[in-house]
Structure formats: C-alpha cells, structure tokens
Amino acid sequence: MDIFGYIISLSFLAQVLRLFTPYYLGASAANFSERGGVINIAIEGFMITSAFCYALFAVLTGNVLLSLFLAVTINILFSLLYSAFTIKLKINQIVTGVGFNLLMAGLAKFIMMLIFRSSSNTPRIESLPHIPFIADMPGIGKVLADYIIIFTFLLVPISQYLIYKTKFGLRLRSAGENPAAAESLGVNVRNYKLYGVMLSGFLSALAGIWLASNQNSFSDGMIAGRGYIAIAAMIIGKWKPWNIFWACIMFAAFEAFEISLQISGINFPSQLLQMLPYLITVLVLIGFIGKTKPPAADGIPY
C-alpha cells in the first residue's frame, strides 16, 4: 500500500473524523467541568460506563434508541454522584476521579461476567441509525451520516457561544475563576459547578455510546485511555473550544497515520507508534504553545 497516497485520500480523512469524534466529545466534557472549577479526570470512567450501559441495554432490549437514552441518563446520574463527592463533600477531585475510573472498569467486567459469562466482551449489538440522505452521498458520506459525528462538529461553535456569549457561560466561568467574587454578587456557585459536571456527564456519555455503537459491542479496555487523551487535548487547547478542536484533529490525524503505518506492513515497532499521542502532548506542552493557564480556581473545592 502506498502510504503517502493514502494520507491524502478520502478514506484517511474518514478515519480522522472517526477518531476525532470521541476525543472532542471527551475533551469538551472535561472542559465544561473545569470551566466551572471542577477537575474531571473521570472522563475515562464516564466513557466506560456509558459504552457499557449502552451495549448492555442494546443486548437486553434490542432497541438502540432506548439504550442510548438509558445510557445517557445513567451517565448523568453518575456525574451527579461525582458532583456529590467533589462539590458537596469537597473530596479531592483527582482522588475521586481516579477512584471512579478504576471502579467503572472493574464494575463493567463484573456485570458482564454475571450476565454474559464472559468478562471480556458483550455479544454483538446493532449500530445506531444513520442519517438517510447523507449516507447516499459519495466519498465520505457514510462517515458523515452519523448523528453523533454531526453533533460533535456543531458542538464546537455551540460551546464557543455558550461559554463566552451567554449568561450561563459567564457564571460558569466565574465559578471556575473566582468563586468567592461570584458568590458576593449573588451567583449560586455550587449550582453552576453542578451544571458543568452534568454537561460533562452528558457529553462523555455520547463519546462512550458512539464507541460501543461503532464497534458493535462493549469489550474490556475498549476506551483505551481516550478519556485521558481528551483531557490532554483540552489542556493543549488551553480550555478554548476552537483550540481544543484543533488539538483533537491533531491527535486523530497522528493516530490515523499510526494505524495506516501498521496496516501498510512497514516494519516499525507498533508500541513506539502507540506512544506517539503522549509524546506529542509532552512536546507540544514544553515547546510549541507556551504556558497554558487553567481556570484560576480549577480543582479547588468551594
């Protein structure tokens, strides 16, 4: 296979778009939480929960839309639990996040073992429906005919607008920057932090559901650190929707390149290639984008 010809081909672009989607949803999820001052390192765990719940209900009910609804609802409930720990009880956010991640990975395996007699994966499930007209378009129509992918692209300008141009965004940011000042002006800081974390639960649910739907099952380890890469993209993107968009595109492009190298059969250690996204994060952070500044009160319980 001609690797360079492939990179400029439509199928490479389609691959980038597919990889981009969970990254951006996850990064945006992390961003809404952190803009309100709550570090959400549990994105990985949220994605596991929603992917698993979606696959579980899809197997049990055979109705993907109902499963989508249930998985989103459960994930938002989990985000409420996360809020209870971090906002109400003021438990350290990193500890809570890591705890959630470990718990969710283990719990998914445990329930799979109970129901399906296998701790590694669920039976095969149907994909989510496609958008009819776009799917018939030539080229990358098949990829774009996905409701969640289209939503993800719309999410970039929507978040930009929501964060910078609305009352909600102003108050959410004030809670993450200087909660004491916000409170003194009558802003209910805790509520806005809660909204941020709930949005985080909603968006990461879409990421997890999309992954399970695309893989037509849930398998142990399938999220594979995407939640962490999403957080790295948020940091590289300096907590700004458009910058995060480009960071996610960059990660997706490198990953697509890595996959195509593997397929092409060029003899190159795959472990080194898989290391690439993390290496890039480190390089980008030390060299190319200068100092990144999180919201001033990010991670501090209030």
């Binding site: 141009k165 609305t166 009352k167 909600f168 102003l170 108050r171 940011r173 004030s174 920057e177 200087n178 004491a180 000042a181 916000a182 003194s184 002006l185 009558g186 802003v187 919201p295 001033a296």
Partner: protein, 494 residues
C-alpha cells in the same frame, strides 16, 4: 434622617469580643469615617452591616426600618454596597464581565454586551473614572482595579457604600482622585462609610467620625467640632504613642549597594530603565513614586529575585532582608502559623520541634506586640496589620546588613506604625543600610536621609540630606509639592 443605625451591636469570635455593644448613627447623605486601631472591630462591624456576619445581639436599621440580614445578598437588595479591602474580581474577565456578573443584561440567552458597555461607559464618564471597560482585569493596576470594584457598586445602584481602608493601596495622587469621587457620591445623595486609621484622611473627607477602641464605640464627633489631637487620644486610649528615636550619625557611611544604569524587563515591559542609586551604611534611602513605576522591581533586584539585562549591580553583603510590596503573595505562606513563617527564613534551623515553634512565636509576639488568638492559627487568620508585624519582626530578627522595606506600615495602625518607625531608625543607627519604598510621603519624610523620586523606572531627582533638613513647615510644603509633581512626571524648575 439616618441612613444607617446600628444599636448595641455585639459579636464575639471564640473568647474575643470583636464588637461589644457598638452604637453607630450614619446621617443620610454624609461621609462617615470609622477610625480605630488594627483589631478595634471596624471590619467586623462593617461585615455585620453588609450581612456577611450575623451579630450576636443588637439591631440594624436601614433608613429607619429594622433589617435582618441572612447574607450579603439581603444587604445588596437594600442598596448597600461594600468595597472590600481585598478585591473580589475575576482576573481573567474584562471590566464589563466583572461588573455585570450576577446582574447580566441579556437578549434571550445571549449577553447584551453593547447595552452593558453603554451603561458602564456612562458611569465611567459621569464619575470621571478613566478606565477602558474592555480591558482585562489582570492587566489593570491597583487603582484601576479599585475603580472596577466601584463600578460594580454603581452598576447595582448602591446608595449606602462602605469602603474598607480604600486608600491603603493608593499613591498620594490617586488618593486625591479617589476623595474627589467620594465627595461626588455624597453630593448626589449617597451615604458613604469609610473605615480608616489615617487621621489625615478623616480631616480631609469626614462629615462625622466614630472612634472604635477594643470593640467599643468610644467617641463620636462631627466635622465642626473635630479636634485631631482629641481624636488621636480617643483612638489609642490610655496608651501614649511610642516616642520617636533620634537619628544618630555613626560617621561610617560607606557605600553598601551600588546600582548603575540598570535596565530590567519583565514580560516584555521595561520596568527599570537606567536606574542609578547608591545606598550607604547607616542611612535610610527613601524611594517615592506612583505605584507601578518600578518600586517592586528595585526591591526584587536588590534581593536577587529579578535578573537585569544590562548595567552594574554591586552589593557588599548578601545578608538582605526584604518586606515585599505584596506581602500576602510574596512575603509569607499564609497557611503556615506565625512561628513557621518566622522559622522558614532562618538558615540555621534544620530540625523543627513544637517547642521551637512555640518559643519563636512567643518571643516575636511579646517583643512586637502581635495579637493572635492561637499560636497554631494560620497567619492569614490574623488581621492585616498583625500579619505585617510578623513579617517585619522576622526580617528584623534575621539581623541582616541590608534592609529593603516596601510599604512597611501599610495597613498598620498608629501605635504599631510608630513602633515600626522607631525600629527602622534604631537599625539605621546600628549602621544598617535601609531602602525604604513607600507611597506615604509623610513616612518617607520622617525616616529618610535621602529621597529619590522614581518615575518610569529611573530616579528622576534625588534630594540630599541637606535639602531635606530644612525645618520650617512652608519649606516642607514646597518640597512636598515639588516631589508630588516629579512623581507624576512633571519636570520641576530648580
């Protein structure tokens, strides 16, 4: 008619009676100063009036009607506004965003920035605040940040405005501007309450004065019968202010620090631009200037916190004490106790025991009259003046050769100021080299042997000890006026 009446207000914290049956009447449409030493209960009383604290007993009446505040929000509803000593601003927001937060103007769910900008620009013009509503707060200087806080109150149409030591962070020129704004507020019918411990300010702006001493309201007087000497006595009570030490010249006035043509850039901005200074042993060198002209950088340069890009810097000793301009950020670890903060800078201590901390604390506390409820309490729980005393005590106790003090008495009451001044003079008399950076011209005049006026990163004029030794009051006034002009960049004909 009284806008505010506080009747028999009491409030305790632990065993400390912060307010002990205080009575206060603030006339409608007046400037009412509340004066007292650090820890007299001024801030507590105002926080009660603003709904932040709830009194143990007593009654609050606003415009004659009894008020029960559960939070600051209730006070804001009655059009009471408070300008806190420490700013409550979102640094990453623009002035507009800071002002509208909590009371946003919207079109649907979209913020209406045009309308907000119009309203805020209107207020800026009306009160002559000279501020760009679109600038980011982190780019503003202290005085501009204070104006942003003022805008927040004006935008919410506060009628009763409480100022907690508003001039502590301002230079003399800015204080003048600020008083004009206050007077304008009063003239259009607002009621102003100012917490202060500066007698000079009371004389300048107060219509009425109430003195608090150790949690009690001890004295009230109006402008017509105001006598500054009586007021001073009421503030300190039975204690007499410490008598000032005499400066003694030891004769050995060798050069201790030599700064030649230093250029220093910070964040792409030229902070020091060809600075020349010579500091001598046994001498206090006073630097005065409007804040932000390089004062902080001089201190950091001498202490070795900042690198200069060109010029010559020689010091005969590297035993240097520093009181930085921003004591909370740079001078202390606010979560540490008094003892820990003091020990932190002592190079000879390696093993820290409970006993050592207790011993260090009790020494400092008694020698420098620091008031604290608990030896283990974090430094941030002390009042501002007492925090300053702790840092001052630590730096003096190190017994270093060179002392760099930025605003050593900022936020400190009369008694403690006099004490700090006498310690500075006695250190000078011991042959120490003192660099005094202050925006308080009286302080500089009182302490300095030589004065350098700092403007845009260089000393534009130096006054020798001969020039400063003129005794008559008129001479001093002429000199003061000259320095005031030099500070804002007006060249003075000699």
């Amino acid at each position: 008619m009284n806008s505010v009446e506080l009747i028999n207000i009491s409030k305790h914290f632990g065993s400390l009676m912060a307010n002990d049956g205080i009575n206060l009447k603030v006339r409608d449409n007046s400037v009412h100063c509340i004066i007292g030493e650090n820890g007299a209960g001024k801030s507590t009383l105002m926080k009660i009036l603003f709904g932040i604290y709830r009194p143990d007993s007593g009654e609050i009446r606003v415009n004659g009607i009894p008020a029960h505040f559960r939070s600051a929000h209730d006070a804001i509803k009655l059009k009471i506004g408070m300008l806190h000593q420490h700013f409550m601003l979102v640094e990453d927001f623009s002035v507009i965003e800071n002002v509208i937060l909590g009371n946003e103007l919207s079109k649907g769910i979209t913020l209406d920035f045009d309308k907000s900008r119009q309203a805020i620009t209107g207020l800026i013009e009306k009160y002559n605040l000279s501020l760009n509503p679109d600038s980011k707060v982190s780019d503003l200087n202290v005085s501009e940040k204070q104006k942003t806080e003022l805008l927040k109150l004006l935008y919410r149409q506060s009628e009763i405005i409480i100022f907690d030591e508003p001039t502590a962070v301002l230079s003399p020129v800015e204080v003048g501007e600020f008083f004009k704004i206050i007077t304008k507020f009063r003239d259009e019918g607002k009621t102003i309450i100012v917490i202060t411990h500066k007698l000079k300010e009371v004389r300048e702006i107060a219509d009425d004065v109430t003195v608090l001493r150790r949690g009690k309201s001890v004295y009230s007087v109006n402008r017509e019968s105001l006598d500054i000497d009586v007021l001073a006595k009421e503030i300190v009570g039975e204690l007499e202010p410490a008598t000032a030490l005499q400066k003694i010249n030891m004769g050995n006035n060798d050069i201790a620090v030599e700064i030649e043509n230093i250029v220093l850039d910070k964040g792409g901005v030229r902070k020091l631009d060809g600075l020349n200074m010579k500091l001598r042993k046994g001498e206090v060198y006073g630097v005065c200037g409007v804040e932000g002209n390089g004062q902080g950088e001089i201190a950091d340069l001498i202490f070795g916190l900042e690198k200069y890009s060109s010029g010559k810097f020689i010091t005969f000793s590297d035993l240097i004490s520093l009181i930085p301009d921003d004591r909370i950020e740079k001078g202390m670890i606010k979560e540490f106790s008094v003892g820990e903060n003091v020990i932190l800078k002592n190079k000879n201590i390696n093993i820290i025991s409970k006993n050592l901390i207790a011993k260090t604390t009790s020494e400092i506390v008694s020698k420098y009259d620091i008031r604290l409820s608990d030896y283990n309490a974090p430094l941030q729980s002390l009042s501002g003046g007492n925090q300053q005393k702790v840092i001052f005590a630590r730096e003096i106790e190190l017994d270093n050769d060179i002392l760099v003090f930025a605003h050593p008495t900022r936020g400190v009451d009369i008694n403690a100021s006099a004490f700090i001044h006498s310690v500075i003079i006695s250190e000078r008399n011991k042959g120490k080299t003192v660099l005094l950076i202050s925006s308080d011209l009286d302080e500089i005049f009182f302490l300095a042997d030589r004065i350098g006026v700092l403007y845009k990163g260089k000393i534009v004029r130096e006054f020798s000890s001969n020039e400063l030794s003129s005794k008559s009051e008129e001479d001093v006034d002429v000199l003061l006026e000259k320095i005031g002009k030099l500070m804002i960049g007006i060249t003075v004909e000699e």
